[in-house]
Amino acid sequence: MSDAARPRTTALALAVGLVLADSSIVVLALPEIYRELDTSVTAVTWVLVSFNLVIALAAVPAAHLARRFGPGRCAAFGLAIFAGASLACGLSSELSTLIAARCVQALGGAAAVTAVLELLPATVGGERRATAIWAAAGATGAALGPALGGVLTELISWQSIFLLQVPVAIVAAAPILAVARHEAATGIISTELRRTGRPHLLANLALALVSAAIAAALFLLVLLLIEGWRLSPITAAIVVSVMPLAALAGRRLGGSVPSSRTRAAAGAVLVAGGLGGLALLPKAAIALTIPPQILVGLGLALVLSALTETALHGRAPQAIHGGWTIASRHAGVVIGLLALTPIFTHDIAQQRTDAIDAGTAVVLDSTVSPLLKIQLAQRIDERLGEEKDKVPTIGPVFEPLPDDDDDREAVIDLREDLQDQLDRGATHAFSPSFGLGALMALLALIPIGLARGREVEL
């Protein structure tokens, strides 16, 4: 790649990473949005679902538009819409306007991402290299999204996630504008108008299943850390940054294996293994989330790149088939979120009740004085009322500690026992959903296995 092409390649990769990061960037901000906009868990999930749903539906039509009107113009126009909608998201004070702006953001994003795939081969000097860069930028963006969103939410606000995307989109659009101007001036559209082949069904199906599983890993882990274990968004961001770091390492790992089918299968198994680990956490401890996250991160890097390469290999036009991969990935995310949200919201409500009952049993069976028991029962009940539908922070119930030494010691033990029951409840509530995510990743092995003989040997 020439030195002159490098800035444009970087800008194009940045555009893809930026848009695809948006499919997951608000994950860590959801609890904050949930609290600030005073809504329900199911409703706030639509901030995430709406973007992924619209991008899934718009990706292929957007790719056709890119071929009709020119990828440069389409990418520039898409990024402009994306930037404007990001601004609207950042200024939203109601859930409905935020979701509407997210839909528009996804429309612009779909246009930009698919058009970039048409622009990349000319910039980097080859379709295969272009595909690899495009797939890697998308996977990196999606993996980095939650950590970036968490840091911004904690340091500034959830609105800043969207507002800061505006200048980034403008920077990414700058080199693309030159192509757009060239297209407008000459009327030459830089894509070859080849016949559209059928999309690679098996690779796209596998992409959808794996994406559903990865969405489960990212979305549920973040909710477990913030809503279940009561971590701050920035701490949760640091914890979940293990996944993108492992994904970056996974890219190197994949380079040594030429068969895309093998890389895809190994990646799907690792994602399933990581989710299986998250479903079976033996304790509410951050350290125990690290090994599963490493597996999911390594797995997602292997499987997403391999399946995207398979779906695009030997197919033209790239934008249309790239559109199909984007549609499949985001449809998978939507299916994952819609399938898992009711399961875990039901489970968390049930586990909350069980944990509170178990905690109350600890209080009732303790040796503290009856009067103190009544006071504690009252305070627990008040706390539950204050933190409806959430796993309550139980520490304040035990403040101030009694003056009597025996009671003080007993109350400290009680506090720990009660917290343990709540941690158990919160962690256990997520187990079935993580397990279902693991199952989805394993199901992806079926289309990957059926794609035998059609694999890409690099």
């Binding site: 299986g276 033996p282 009856p370 627990i380 009940d381 158990r424």
Partner: protein, 175 residues
């Protein structure tokens, strides 16, 4: 030197092995059992812990009464305990489970009667005390019944008053 095909096989088998090791070790560490402790069915008898002295007997008595009332109402002992902690909690409980004051009073009286029986069975209360206690509890108003569950020590003191002014009489009937 490992050839390209073998590298693929190694990667695939390695991914299976690593996944199985992770899942297996988390299972072995108790991952499938990490859940809130199950609370006991209030209708099942609960064994008394060798109570010593009036305060401990009173505590066990309250717990038995809660069990009995919760069993009657079809809720857990813990849910009922939180509901009886304040008037507001009781109102919300009644609304949630559609339980009127009369039904609650009947259940709590039944719970208190079960507690008397449990106390007798555990040898913590003489049958001589049980008779007047049962008689007093059968017609006790709701607010007083709740108060008694929350403060069984007071109940036993009340029995002492009920039996007469003789100082120390209660202690004679307690083990």
């Amino acid at each position: 030197m490992i050839d390209r095909a073998d590298r693929g096989k190694l990667m695939f088998l390695g991914s299976i092995a690593v996944s199985l090791v992770l899942v297996g070790s988390y299972l072995a560490a108790g991952g499938s059992d990490y859940a809130p402790a199950k609370t006991q069915d209030p209708c099942e008898p609960r064994e008394w812990r060798d109570p010593q002295g009036l305060q401990e007997i009173a505590q066990q008595f309250s717990l038995s009464a809660l069990d009995g009332a919760a069993c009657e109402l079809g809720v857990t002992r813990e849910t009922l305990a939180r509901a009886l902690a304040s008037d507001e909690a009781r109102r919300q409980f009644a609304e949630k489970y559609d339980i009127g004051d009369a039904e609650l009073a009947t259940a709590i009286r039944a719970g208190l009667l079960r507690a008397v029986g449990d106390a007798e069975e555990a040898g913590a209360l003489s049958p001589l005390l049980g008779v007047p206690l049962r008689s007093a509890l059968r017609s006790i108003p709701l607010d007083e019944a709740i108060e008694l569950i929350n403060d069984a020590e007071g109940l036993l003191d009340n029995v002492q008053s009920f039996l007469g002014p003789a100082e120390g009489l209660l202690e004679q009937f307690l083990p």
